[in-house]
């Protein structure tokens, strides 16, 4: 029974590796400050084992341009960075191809680096697949994303409320345990009756 199951799964896996293509992953959008460095990550999913002939290529298309230029290539075990184009001396390969990581590091960003970076990875024999793009936005001052401030306000108010309720119950607990002798313990609490047995006087009922 188990062997039949194992056989079926191996057969299905074999079939699946012929059907599914290589899937390349990058971020959707990256925001960075002028003058800073940004690491553009690229990874892939493939049913085949990572081949020693795995290749990564990065292409750059400026905002408004129709065509892109090639700025990075990793193949045959060696990395080739841009030495003539807009990224010469600024590009560095920081990926680990055997771990399916083809990330590059761009140093000292400028406003002219705004654009779309496309990563294409190939893992022979699994070579059919779509490249993936990441948009780079270079800012003078990184803007706060929409909704972050609103969410922060909501979170802070809820957190304060929980804190106040927790402190209230803590104080009640401590007063009931005679750890503190606050004046609060003299009047009765209009409570849920949990610590009602501790109070000797009747609480004021409105």
């Amino acid at each position: 029974m188990l062997s039949v199951l194992a056989l079926t799964s191996v057969v299905l896996l074999g079939i699946a590796s012929q059907i599914t293509a290589i899937v390349v992953y990058t971020s959707w959008e990256r925001h960075a400050l002028v003058g800073s460095d940004v690491r553009l990550s690229c990874s892939f999913f493939s049913w085949q084992w990572t081949s020693p002939d795995v290749t990564f290529s990065w292409q750059y298309r400026p905002d408004g341009a129709k065509e892109g230029i090639s700025i990075f290539h990793y193949g045959g075990g060696a990395a080739y960075v841009d030495n003539k184009g807009p990224f010469r001396d600024r590009l560095e390969f920081v990926g680990n191809p055997s771990r399916r990581d083809g990330s590059i590091l761009i140093k000292n960003l400028d406003f002219s680096d705004n654009g779309t970076f496309t990563c294409d990875a190939k893992n022979p024999p699994d070579i059919v697949g779509r490249p993936s793009s990441v948009r780079l936005l270079v800012f003078e001052k990184v803007p706060v994303q929409a909704g972050v401030v609103t969410g922060a306000i909501i979170g802070v108010v809820l957190g304060l409320l929980i804190l106040i309720v927790a402190i209230y119950y803590l104080m009640r607990f401590l007063v009931a345990r005679r750890v503190f002798s606050l004046s609060m313990s003299k009047h009765g609490k209009k409570g849920k009756g949990k610590e009602g047995s501790q109070q000797k006087q009747a609480g004021p009922l409105k």
């Binding site: 909501i154 809820l158 009756g193």
Partner: protein
């Protein structure tokens, strides 16, 4: 007795529905071709409604305050409903539903802050248009949550 309980429960649910509608539906201010606030703006172009950003000239901090307090009002009202059901079972006889009332009080405060800020700050220059459905629902929720809050502070649990 059961009728009273059902009525109070329904009032609370009505509060929740109105609050959610006012918060989610972008219709605090409307013109013939535009339905706007508090999250985004719908503009009617060529027979189609298009989803666009709120223009940048809106005072940012006030808009965020309205957004945050209307969401908080919804949260407190919904939590209040669960607390009410819990208190129905755990409250000893003769006690008041104070915890539930506290949540409704907070919800009332929050939606009142949201509606007041919006009325006072936005759309003050005599631009064309009228206050939309969400705005009206927000102010109705102010009244309903207040009534609900007072009810919980006054009501006593009759049967154990």
């Amino acid at each position: 007795m059961l009728v009273l309980l059902a009525a109070i429960f329904l009032l609370h649910i009505a509060c929740i529905c109105l609050l959610l509608a006012a918060t989610i539906h972008n219709a605090w201010w409307m013109t013939d071709s535009m339905s706007t606030d508090i999250w985004s703006r719908w503009i009617l172009i060529g027979g189609n409604w298009n989803y666009t950003e709120i223009p940048a000239h809106y005072p940012k901090e006030y808009l965020q305050a309205v957004q945050a307090s209307s969401v908080l009002a919804c949260i407190f009202c919904i939590l209040g409903l669960f607390v009410f059901v819990a208190q129905l079972y755990t409250l000893p006889k003769g006690k008041r539903f104070l915890f539930t009332g506290a949540f409704q009080l907070l919800a009332w405060l929050c939606i009142m802050i949201a509606a007041s800020i919006y009325t006072d700050i936005f759309h003050k220059d005599k631009e064309q248009g009228w206050y939309g459905a969400s705005f009206i629902l927000a102010w109705i929720s102010v009244c309903l949550t207040f009534i609900s809050c007072i009810t919980y502070f006054v009501l006593r649990k009759k049967t154990a």
